[in-house]
């Protein structure tokens, strides 16, 4: 080691410049991090691959400003110098620095950090009078030269820089080291990587622009961090997350408290931020600091419905009670992500401003302000959806500055829109990389996968002793749960078993697949496709508990008392199973109903053998149903909720055109399976929580806030029902009673509203939460977790590992590996929660997208299918909210248009626009015109016309227009697709399932037979030949419904927006 000195000029704490002398030690042995190393460097961490054409050494300026280009995974063999690394650390914010660190740590990226400043021959001290940038560039160049020589010239080294002087100075010096500009590098080495070129241009342009501008201030400056911190501590300021009202994005935003932060008891609601001035450059999602305004400036939130986007009506009389109002004084943490924007059409661009290179683009998300972008490609990009990143928002600028990153495609095309939905929800699902797939076991025709004999002997073998079967939707590929039930010898006890795919056997902790699965956190189900969490070889084959093959499983076996069905003992462990039957829900239900159906697994067999097998299966199914009913009853006693979500499935044909929107149809067997899964989850939760009281991953569902129930209670009152929301038990009971015999929809709507009032169920680590908060409100269980779907949820994978550790702890006294600490687990739980929320949003948005696509092709004035029955479920000042059961749609219906005209109803119920006034009451709204007064009550049935309101920059929206105040009756039975008839059926089946009495059982048997005939009838009547095609497309679709069915509890989470 050789000691040198380094002179730095730093700012002292008092703000003066201080000259500081620091020691600097350099050494000869610095690991180079390349696979081609000839000198036995100790490369113990990440290593650059040897099979690339060259290595790239980016200059300081490139890393600082063009890091995003280096993030392209196609760029390989990147050597980041310590000089550049430290410059980023010192000059850019923490986010930028963390991104650089993440890049270096990511095993999927081929880049390493080379500590060049500590290498004896790389480091050169700063010359007198040399500028810092020049010195850095010289150091980077020296590092590049050393690297080339160190690898004995095996690999050419390219240094890329933005400094043109450096190019002329260094390019001719060494033969193996090329110094070129970034642009030239991209052009000559990656001519095909168009995305990188575009990104480069857009960043370069933004940098140029930034240098030349200063005008008057639009916003007040943010306060410095120390002042904010002091203010928060003293209680003068409030800290929280800004969330913008989607419907009034320019005016209304709210700041949500972070619970612990407020000691201020008088403020228990959110703080309203009114107008862009007060919002002071904060963007949706930022962590901000707010100062409250004096009480006389407080405002209320707007209650009127707004039509479309753009125009803003701030009528004083439409506001509610004044609420705390404040202004943003500082921003603690920006939470900017990538935004999808749309370029305006060319005419608009040209008229926009003096500087035609700057363009205001409109984000897809209403809540994000317009973004100013400098680009020369405006012409090419018009009407395209583009990903944009925000760079800065100066106080002198009305809009934030950003730059383009990547073009998604033309607005309005399905593929673009789906990509938009994924991106807006921060879902990143690239195809699995080769390195990840290489980790997977092989299972092909020639080379079938085989079980490991040592593994077989270590597991409990259930292949011969247990009748194991699975019940899933038709065509399901990833079977992650199977069931078994049998009477134990002696007949006193039953044994119920839930066997879950053993994913953790294949996905080792810390492997690439594991990392990928962790970052995805869940399988994403969109309306027409899905993105798997695990590679297909696992999810659809080796992990999937298919029928007739041997598979590894994690099992929970309960011994139940045959009479009382109480749990006597539980056994957890790894097992070996072979599923005998792979049933689907409809088949299982028909078996239970005693219908003659063909079980595919038994079609080979004949005569008594077949009958015997059939009897065994039936016996098992019946026992299972009995046990499930018992479990359900147990939970009902505790107050489990039965809630209603609107679930509609789009039926697609081959070209992804929508042929019908069909509400989901629940059967009792769905509930049976779900009940067993809930039981398994609950018992696993108990086990891991007892074994690891401070670091187990559980799932809780906090009780909802009482004020969220207000609208539900008011609505119910309108129909004379009283809803008791004090506990989940009371709520469940009162919902049970709130049934209108004339209109089954009333109950459904009330349940839907109750669902909206619920908070989300969340994963958490037991160490981070007091024990009384473990409770799961929706399921009425004291402990709950997710265990049963490891193929599509990462939380389950974690729980599997925890359960294995718990078993080991019991056996050997200590787990073999250290477990994730409470803090790590809590962070992970947070990540999974976020991803789950993103997955739900994406799923919802894709469904809405398909709803719009369905109605887009239909002329709403002619097509009968665009006219439907709707129920009023909420009243606003200028209209009401209605639910269309046929399509599962919810939307606003306006009674007053922009010119102030209101809807009048004539004698036979037809509606017209006329001048008049509108009067709103708690449970009704009436229009008063020259022809008379008409009143709309809650739960009235009306007829609406559904049309699509196209939007260029955002998603298309569906628009409801009132055409009659009478319920809509089908004029022609065949033009009215099954939806309506079916939705009634859905109603009835739901109700019957609730009653669960024997009598209803028989009745349902008949009814569902009927329904099947009816369905067939309908299908044969449809003019198209879609029946077959539907079957094919349903393969993908049905998984969506699994996801929904299985998580009955998750239905409670279709959160209110």
């Amino acid at each position: 080691m050789i000691k040198t000195e380094k002179v730095l000029h730093l700012n002292s704490s008092k703000g003066r410049k201080v000259r500081v002398v620091r020691e600097h030690y350099v050494r000869e042995q610095v690991p180079c991090g390349s696979a081609l190393c000839q000198a036995d460097c100790h490369n113990d961490s990440k290593v650059l691959s040897g099979d690339v054409t060259h290595y790239v050494v980016p200059d300081v300026g490139v890393v600082r400003d063009f890091l995003e280009i280096l993030e392209f995974r196609e760029l390989q063999g990147i050597v980041l110098t310590q000089t550049a690394y430290q410059t980023v650390q010192h000059t850019r914010g923490r986010r930028h620095y963390n991104r650089l660190r993440a890049l270096l740590k990511d095993p999927r990226h081929d880049c390493v950090l080379f500590a060049n400043e500590f290498q004896r021959y790389c480091y050169c001290p700063r010359d007198k009078g040399e500028s810092q940038d020049k010195w850095h560039t010289r150091n980077v160049y020296n590092a590049a030269v050393w690297y080339y020589n160190h690898l004995a010239g095996l690999q050419p080294v390219v240094m890329i820089t933005e400094d043109s002087e450096a190019i002329s100075q260094f390019s001719a010096l060494n033969s193996g080291v090329y110094v070129i500009s970034t642009q030239e590098y991209l052009l000559s080495f990656w001519p095909d990587l168009q995305a990188a070129h575009d990104l480069y241009n857009s960043i370069a342009q933004t940098l140029q622009e930034r240098e030349s501008e200063v005008v008057e201030k639009v916003y007040t400056e943010h306060l410095p961090a120390e002042v904010l911190e002091a203010g928060i501590k003293s209680g003068r300021y409030i800290q929280g997350i800004l969330s913008v009202n989607k419907h009034r994005a320019q005016h209304e935003a709210f700041v949500r408290y972070e619970a612990s932060a407020s000691k201020n008891t008088e403020l228990n609601s959110d703080v309203l931020i009114n107008g862009a001035k007060h919002r002071n450059r904060a963007v949706h999602g930022d962590a901000v600091v707010v100062e409250l305004l004096p009480r006389n400036e407080w405002k209320g939130r707007t209650m009127a419905l707004t039509e479309g986007q753009g125009e803003e009506q701030t009528l004083e009389d439409t506001q509610s009670q004044p609420m705390p109002t404040g202004r943003v004084v500082g921003i603690l943490q920006r939470n900017w992500r990538d935004y999808v924007v749309t370029f305006p059409p060319l005419e608009e661009v040209q008229s926009q401003s003096r500087n035609s290179q700057k363009i205001l683009v409109i984000p897809w998300d209403y809540r994000i302000p317009k973004i100013r972008i400098s680009t020369q490609q405006a012409e090419a990009l018009q009407d395209q959806r583009v990903i944009v990143r925000l760079d800065s928002w100066e106080s002198t600028s009305v809009y934030p500055n950003g730059h383009c990153v990547r073009v998604l495609g033309k607005a309005g095309e399905l593929e673009t829109e789906i990509q938009t939905i994924l991106l807006e929800n921060c879902i990143h699902v690239p195809p699995f990389s080769d390195a990840q797939l290489r980790e997977m076991p092989i299972n092909t025709q020639e080379n079938p996968w085989q079980m490991d004999s040592s593994e077989v002997s270590s597991r409990r073998d259930l292949r011969d002793t247990h009748l194991v079967f699975s019940i899933d939707p038709k065509g399901c590929e990833d079977v992650d749960d199977t069931l078994s039930v049998r009477t134990l010898p002696g007949g006193k006890r039953l044994e119920l078993g839930v066997h879950i795919a053993d994913v953790t056997y294949f996905v080792r902790e810390g492997s690439l697949t594991d990392l990928e699965a962790r970052s995805r956190a869940t399988t994403y189900y969109l309306a027409d496709r899905r993105y798997d969490m695990l590679p297909a070889v696992l999810s659809a084959d080796l992990c999937s508990l298919l029928g007739g093959v041997d598979r590894y499983a994690m099992s929970v076996l309960w011994e139940l008392d045959a009479e009382t069905l109480d749990v006597c003992t539980v056994w957890y462990g790894r097992t070996l199973i072979r599923s005998s039957y792979q049933l689907h829900y409809e088949l299982a239900q028909s078996l239970l109903n005693g219908e003659e159906v063909e079980v595919p697994e038994l079609s080979q067999l004949k005569g008594p053998q077949r009958d015997q097998k059939m009897a065994e299966l039936l016996q098992a199914l019946e026992t299972l149903t009995r046990v499930a009913r018992h479990l359900r009853a147990q939970r009902d006693k505790g107050g489990a909720l039965e809630l209603e979500g609107v679930e509609v499935r789009a039926q697609l044909d081959e070209e992804k055109n929508i042929t019908a929107l069909v509400p989901k149809q629940p059967l009792e067997v769905h509930e049976t399976v779900a009940e067993c899964m809930i039981h398994a989850n609950h018992w696993v939760a108990r086990k891991i929580q007892e074994s690891f009281p401070h670091q187990a991953l559980l799932r809780h569902h906090p009780p909802p806030k009482q004020e969220f129930f207000n609208s539900l209670i008011d609505c119910a009152k309108a129909r004379g029902f009283s809803i008791n929301t004090r506990s989940n038990r009371a709520l469940a009971d009162s919902l049970e009673q709130a049934v209108d015999p004339q209109d089954p929809l009333v109950n459904k709507l009330l349940r839907m509203m109750a669902t909206q009032a619920m908070s989300n169920a969340l994963y958490f680590s037991t160490g981070a939460c007091p024990e009384e908060q473990y409770y799961h409100y929706g399921l009425a269980l004291d402990r709950y977790t997710h265990f049963t779907s490891p193929i599509r949820r990462y939380a389950d994978v974690l729980v599997h590992r925890l359960l294995m550790a718990a078993i080991q702890l019991e056996k050997e006294g200590s787990p073999s590996k250290p477990l994730a600490s409470n803090k790590e687990l809590e962070e992970l739980a947070h990540h999974i929660n976020n991803k789950n929320r993103a997955a739900q949003h994406a799923q919802k948005q894709s469904t809405e997208l398909f709803q719009c696509l369905y109605f887009r092709d239909k002329d709403s004035n002619i097509d009968e299918r665009c006219v439907a029955d709707a129920v009023i479920y909420a009243v606003r000042t200028n209209g009401f909210l209605a639910f269309v059961p046929q399509y599962g749609l919810r939307g606003a219906v306006y009674l007053k248009d922009r010119e102030g005209q209101v809807v009048s109803v004539d004698g036979d119920g037809k509606c017209e626009w006329k001048a008049g006034t509108l009067q709103r009451y708690p449970d009704r709204i009436s229009t008063c015109t020259s022809t008379g007064t008409h009143t709309f009550y809650l739960f009235d049935h009306v007829t609406v016309r559904i049309s699509v309101q196209p939007s260029r920059c955002h998603t298309d929206t569906l628009c409801l227009e009132l055409i009659s105040n009478k319920p809509h009756c089908a004029v022609q039975p065949e033009s009215q697709p099954a939806g309506r008839g079916r939705s009634e059926l859905v109603q009835e089946v739901v109700r019957w399932a609730e009653e669960a009495s024997l009598q209803a059982e028989e009745e349902r048997g008949k009814k569902s037979k009927l329904s099947r005939e009816e369905r067939q009838f309908r299908q044969s009547k449809t003019p198209n030949l879609y029946v077959l095609l539907q079957e094919i497309s349903e393969l993908a679709l049905l998984d969506l419904s699994v996801c929904q069915i299985r998580n009955t509890e998750e239905q409670t989470c279709t959160a209110s927006s």
């Binding site: 080691m1 000691k3 500081v20 030690y25 914010g93």
Partner: protein, 245 residues
């Protein structure tokens, strides 16, 4: 600004050392002829000058003298130019007094004071340039000065600091690392016996980590003792060459 990173992912510290590496130590003995013993020591950029007078009669009031051993009198001061910003009071402030006291305690444990009853030994130390680890530089310099003065000691007294960052103990902290807000532990060791003359730590540290931290500091002290030993031997060689002539 993304803050300092005291220990990089690759295991380098700010100045390019690894976690257990010491700064470069250079020292010379007998730098002044007037004093009984003197030494100059650089530990990285921390530079210390130590001067020893004595043993001699107790100056000032006789009442201070002890009948069975010598009194050790230590004075610590920092040059006004020793830090990045000029220091107003070179000595006599609280920090310096505390440091003087610590030095006194350290050397009372190491010097065989019972050989010189009713007398006094003066140790004056001045920091010429401060870059972290002032205490340890002072102790090491004073040890050399005591050796130079020929005052009998049980052993060399070697001192070194150690810090704790991201579960790794760092030996011999520099100023940037000390002011980084982490734990810093100063240890004075009699290396041959392994006895600890002084141990001081101000910041909070989890009990579980204390042992590893002390262990790291002891290893560093032992390393230092070899360097000091080398300096003394080299000095002896030089002196013996001179006297032979």
């Amino acid at each position: 600004m993304a803050g300092l990173e005291l220990l990089s992912d690759q295991g380098y510290r700010l100045d390019g050392r690894k976690a257990s590496e010491l700064r470069k130590v250079q020292a010379r003995m007998s730098v002044f002829a007037q004093a009984d013993g003197s030494a100059y020591l650089e530990q990285g950029n921390t530079k210390a000058l130590a001067v020893v007078y004595g043993p001699h009669e107790v100056r000032g009031s006789r009442s201070k003298s002890l009948h069975d051993r010598a009194v050790i009198n230590c004075q610590y001061s920092m040059a006004t130019f020793s830090t990045a910003e000029r220091k107003r009071r070179p000595h006599g402030d609280r920090k310096s007094s505390e440091m003087s006291l610590h030095l006194k305690q350290t050397f009372e444990a190491a010097v065989l004071t019972e050989l010189y009853p009713r007398s006094q030994i003066d140790i004056y130390v001045k920091i010429l340039q401060a870059d972290g680890g002032n205490y340890s530089a002072c102790v090491n310099a004073a040890t050399l000065a005591l050796v130079d003065a020929g005052i009998p000691m049980r052993d060399y007294v070697c001192a070194c600091t150690a810090g704790f960052v991201e579960d790794t103990p760092l030996a011999d902290l520099c100023h940037a690392e000390e002011s980084g807000g982490g734990t810093s532990l100063a240890l004075a060791l009699l290396p041959r016996s392994g006895n600890i003359a002084l141990l001081q730590m101000d910041a909070r540290l989890h009990q579980d980590h204390l042992d590893t931290l002390i262990e790291a500091a002891m290893t560093a002290c032992k390393g230092l003792s070899e360097v000091l030993d080398g300096v003394v031997r080299q000095h002896l060689e030089e002196v013996s060459v001179l006297t032979r002539d």
